[in-house]
């Protein structure tokens, strides 16, 4: 019984990390822990602009034209690069249209909000996945704790 419980627990912990609904099993953990890339090396405008942005396939191929080119996921990547298309990444975070919310990364990065505050432990995650639940409560509580504006029109316009 105890073993079954442990098995279920390990499945519950591991399965979300192996979610393969992204077109390529991009391991954030490898790139951050082994290659020592910073978040903004790929999400280049996360600290300055509104959108963090996702790198284009050409950026991936800067390294992967040579590195680990024989691995199956990299072969997938190379095939997409050769086709001249972009990787059809699935959106992970976002707001409902009806919420009329505009989130801007720039001001948050400038005021020293760590990426992990909203995006969770990405250094130990595989594919992009919603590790942290985003709702108005999380935004507002953080805004109030840090004396940021809690005026509706700060975000809803």
């Amino acid at each position: 019984m105890k073993h079954l419980f442990l098995l279920l627990l390990s499945v519950a912990l591991v399965v979300p990390c192996l979610r393969a609904d992204q077109p390529i099993l991009f391991p954030h953990s490898t790139h951050i822990n082994k290659v020592h890339l910073k978040c903004i090396d790929c999400h280049i405008s996360a600290d300055t602009r509104d959108a963090a942005t996702i790198p284009g396939v050409r950026k991936c191929m800067l390294c992967h034209a040579k590195i680990a080119a024989d691995k199956p996921e990299i072969k997938k990547l190379a095939a997409i690069a050769a086709s001249g298309r972009e990787i059809p990444w699935q959106r992970v975070y976002g707001f409902e249209k009806a919420a009329a919310v505009k989130f801007r990364h720039g001001p948050h990065a400038r005021h020293k909000v760590a990426c992990a505050t909203c995006h969770g432990d990405m250094p130990n995650a595989i594919t992009a996945q919603p590790l942290v639940k985003h709702n108005m409560g999380t935004c507002i509580s953080c805004h109030r704790q840090n004396n940021a504006s809690d005026d509706c029109a700060t975000c809803h316009y």
Binding site: K97, A98, A100, V101, K102, R110, C152, A153, H156, Y157
Partner: protein, 222 residues
């Protein structure tokens, strides 16, 4: 905001710019005939004299961002209120479409989405990503291009300086070829708008209602 009526030529560039900047839906002629038009700014025309000896006067009318806004106290869900910057803002996701605010607005500058907004092709491809698209059943109005205000404040904050006078330009102000519209901070006594608002030509629209409008019209008394 200050609007110099002696400069306005009624070209409606501001109306087009506003539509384009703020993702305002386009109504059809049939809908327009039923009064279901969406404009955040319109040009009122006044005729003087008899044809052919006629004089036309134009007046761009947008939300006056009244200090005593009649639209605000009637909203049952607090979707419209004054924000700390003095803007009369509309929170789209709060709005339940009671229409009370539009009924109570003496300037009739609020527009209601009777249906989900539509654009004739290919105009649906030029939406401004900085502004949300309001669904049907939601009231909307001029925001003084709040997305541009936020952007400029953001840039100023990043550079560690205050926002310069005239740095924020709503779409209508930017597009006005006659430079009839000027936007700025009325609370700053040194700003260009404050100076012009103290001009002898300054008037406010329907000021006698006690709404304390924040749009000043400059017009030579005739």
């Amino acid at each position: 905001m200050v609007i110099d009526l002696d400069r306005c030529t009624g070209c409606e560039a501001c109306v087009v710019a506003c539509h384009s900047e703020n993702n305002i839906g386009m109504s059809t002629p049939e809908e327009a005939a039923r009064g279901r038009v969406n404009h955040w700014i319109r040009i009122d025309r006044y005729y003087e004299g008899q044809f052919p000896d006629i004089k036309v006067k134009y007046r761009p009318v947008l939300c006056q961002h009244c200090d005593e806004a009649p639209c605000e106290p009637v909203c049952p869900v607090n979707a419209t209120y004054h924000n700390p910057e003095g803007l009369n803002v509309q929170v789209y996701n709060r709005c339940v479409g009671t229409f009370y605010c539009a009924n109570n607005c003496p300037y009739t500058v609020r527009s209601f989405n009777w249906f989900d907004p539509k654009w004739p092709e290919p105009m649906q491809l030029q939406h401004n990503p900085d502004v949300s698209i309001r669904p049907g059943g939601v009231m909307e109005k001029c925001t003084f291009c709040i997305q541009r205000i936020k952007r400029v404040e953001d840039q100023a904050d990043a550079a560690g300086r205050p926002v310069a006078d005239g740095e924020v330009q709503p779409a209508c102000v930017q597009s006005c070829p006659a430079e009839a519209m000027i936007f700025g901070d009325l609370n700053d006594p040194d700003s260009k708008v404050s100076r012009l608002a103290g001009d002898g030509r300054a008037t406010k629209l329907m000021e006698e209602l006690g709404t304390k409008p924040k749009v000043v019209y400059l017009e030579k008394a005739r």
